[in-house]
């Protein structure tokens, strides 16, 4: 997959002195769904606002499809659709007019069929002539998605799409996002719901205090989640791990009081039985055993709290 968005050592320092994004670099691949996870105020919205042109970067370069977002803003912005976090809509306008307006803003001629299909796809057909101010929060979120898709963007940004959305709409939204991916769109979503990242993302990036702490394939992260640690408390301390146990890649903890063994709980053979037998052979006496598991949430909390 080729890179569609290149973020190169980007910084944003606001007039208030707040350093919202710190030296952040990230490449986003064409056709992927990447979730940017982070607590509130981590800098997620600032980052996507810089890509979309709402906020100017203080330093660094951002390229979309090889074009600079500042110098070639017309071309880059035409490729991007943004669903903002806040329900910012023209309250007195009707649903369909608001969507048509968005398409026009992006320089596209009116396309009745496309707009109608979009309205139907987002279950807004019944409300197409209703004023936006009369809609519920969930419905407004749908309108925002329709507006962002109205100019047929190749890249879609969803800033906290699940904020204030009920379970049903959230699932529906995930379906829409997956379908967009099938059509070849690249999707970047920010969220602080780990469940959301797990459900739809190909890759997950963790942002905190304006820094990108980690970017990894979701599968890798999930496999980390599937990994368990067996902690073996020893009856007496050992100085080093015997050679006969080297194939288990054990870690010696607490000055030789404990051994830690990582294994995959979903593997057919975990290696626990043979490890215990080999420990016995090495004449090491055990005091206690315990196992623990890492979840994505723990990885997240752990990274964010560092």
């Amino acid at each position: 997959m080729s890179t569609i968005i290149e973020i190169d050592e980007v910084n944003k320092v606001f007039a208030t002195g707040e350093h919202a994004v710190k030296n952040l670099s990230l490449n986003i691949k064409e056709g992927e769904i990447i979730a940017l996870l982070g607590p509130n105020g981590a800098g997620k919205t600032t980052l996507i606002s810089m890509i979309c042109g709402i906020v100017s970067p203080s330093s660094g370069k951002i390229k979309v499809n090889g074009l600079d977002v500042v110098d070639d803003y017309r071309k880059t912005r035409s490729m991007i659709g943004l669903v903002p976090q806040e329900l910012t809509l023209e309250s007195f306008e009707t649903v369909s007019n608001s969507i048509k307006f968005s398409r026009g803003l992006f320089g596209k001629k009116g396309n009745k069929i496309l707009i109608e299909n979009l309205i139907k796809q987002l279950s807004l057909w019944e409300k197409r002539n209703t004023k936006i101010m009369e809609l519920s929060g969930g419905m407004k979120r749908r309108v925002l998605i329709a507006k962002a898709l109205s100019h047929e963007p190749q890249i879609l940004f969803l800033d906290e799409p699940s904020a204030g959305v009920d379970v049903e709409l959230r699932k529906e939204m995930w379906e829409i996002i997956k379908n967009l991916k099938k059509d070849g769109a690249t999707i970047i979503l920010t969220t602080h719901y780990i469940e959301e990242a797990e459900a739809i993302a190909d890759r997950v990036g963790i942002i905190n205090n304006g820094e990108l702490l980690l970017v990894e394939e979701k599968k890798e992260l999930l496999s980390k989640m599937g990994s368990k640690t067996l902690t073996i408390e020893l009856a007496s301390k050992i100085k080093s791990i015997p050679k006969s146990l080297s194939s288990y890649h054990l870690q010696l903890l607490n000055n030789g009081e404990k051994l830690a063994f990582n294994y995959k709980s979903n593997d057919e053979s975990t290696g626990i039985t043979s490890l215990l037998m080999d420990i016995k052979k090495a004449d090491i006496k055990l005091a206690d055993l315990s196992t623990s598991q890492t979840s994505l949430e723990e990885i997240f909390v752990d990274m964010v709290n560092k």
Binding site: F14, A15, S49, C52, G53, I54, V55, S56, Y73, R74, K75, R77, S78, I80, L82, P84, E86, T88, L89, E90, S91, F92, E93, N97, K100, F101, S102, R103, G104, L105, F106, G107, K108, K109, K147
Partner: protein, 254 residues
């Protein structure tokens, strides 16, 4: 290449807003101006002397049109851009492939069109109260259009600058209304004592009303060329400020 579709989208959107609030947008300025015609033009005007051979009722028509057009241009344009800022919908405009010029063209174009419409409606309404002859119709239209555009540009700046609704009303209320009233809407500058005549020449609105009145009756307080130069200077100043606003992102982009 210019994003014509986007300019059209903003323009149509703003004009739709005007027609949606027809009563407030068009009917109310017409009613309030008609009241001026009745009170100053017909009731008081009939007891006033002619000014430069023009009956008082007819004399105040250009001034009243200017008064309304000026205040309407400012309020339309300032509200037009302030509201998206207030609602947060400005982010959609900022994230669209639009240049500052196109944004201004859409918003200022719509605001100026609306005030031009009001100006024309008031001009027509005036015929019901007084007899009006326009000596230089092309100059009259030119002055009207230039004023609509220039003061819509000025309004746009106020809309960007304003942080709240109070500030939005502050400039029109504290600066523009006094300038317009003291700009010779209801009298000729020559009717003032010497000192106040000199002070009046620092008021840009004097030049607008004077030029506009000249296009009607051929008589003016200052030369038509000076009026034109004054309005062009003011328009250029507004454009310069707007250029700086978008260049620096002042109060619209962080």
């Amino acid at each position: 290449m210019i994003n014509l579709q986007a300019i059209k989208a903003i323009y149509v959107f703003e004009m739709t807003r005007t027609f949606r609030t027809l009563l407030q947008s068009l009917v109310s300025p017409v009613i309030s101006t008609s009241l001026y015609f009745i009170v100053f033009g017909t009731a008081i005007g009939s007891r006033m002397q002619d000014i430069s051979d023009v009956p008082y009722g007819a004399f105040i028509v250009p001034g009243l049109i200017m008064l309304t057009v000026l205040t309407q241009s400012i309020s339309n344009a300032s509200f037009g851009i302030y509201f998206p800022k207030f609602m947060g919908t400005i982010n959609e405009i900022l994230s669209a492939p639009l240049s500052a010029f196109e944004i201004v063209l859409g918003y200022v174009g719509a605001a100026a069109t609306k005030s031009l419409m009001i100006g024309i409606i008031i001009f027509i309404t005036a015929h019901f109260f007084v007899e009006i002859n326009v000596l230089h119709p092309i100059w009259m239209i030119t002055f009207l259009v230039l004023t609509c555009v220039t003061f819509s540009l000025f309004g746009f700046i106020i809309g960007i600058w304003a942080k709240n609704f109070e500030q939005l009303n502050l400039v029109p209320l504290l600066i523009v209304t006094p300038l317009v009233f003291l700009g010779g809407s209801f009298y000729s500058i020559s009717m003032l004592p010497d000192f106040w005549q000199k002070v009046s020449f620092f008021n840009p609105v004097v030049y607008l009303i004077s030029g506009f009145r000249w296009s009607f009756y051929g008589s003016s307080d200052v030369g038509i060329e000076i009026s034109l130069i004054a309005i062009v200077i003011f328009a250029s100043l507004c454009m310069l400020v707007i250029y700086r606003i978008f260049k620096t992102g002042y109060r619209i982009k962080q």
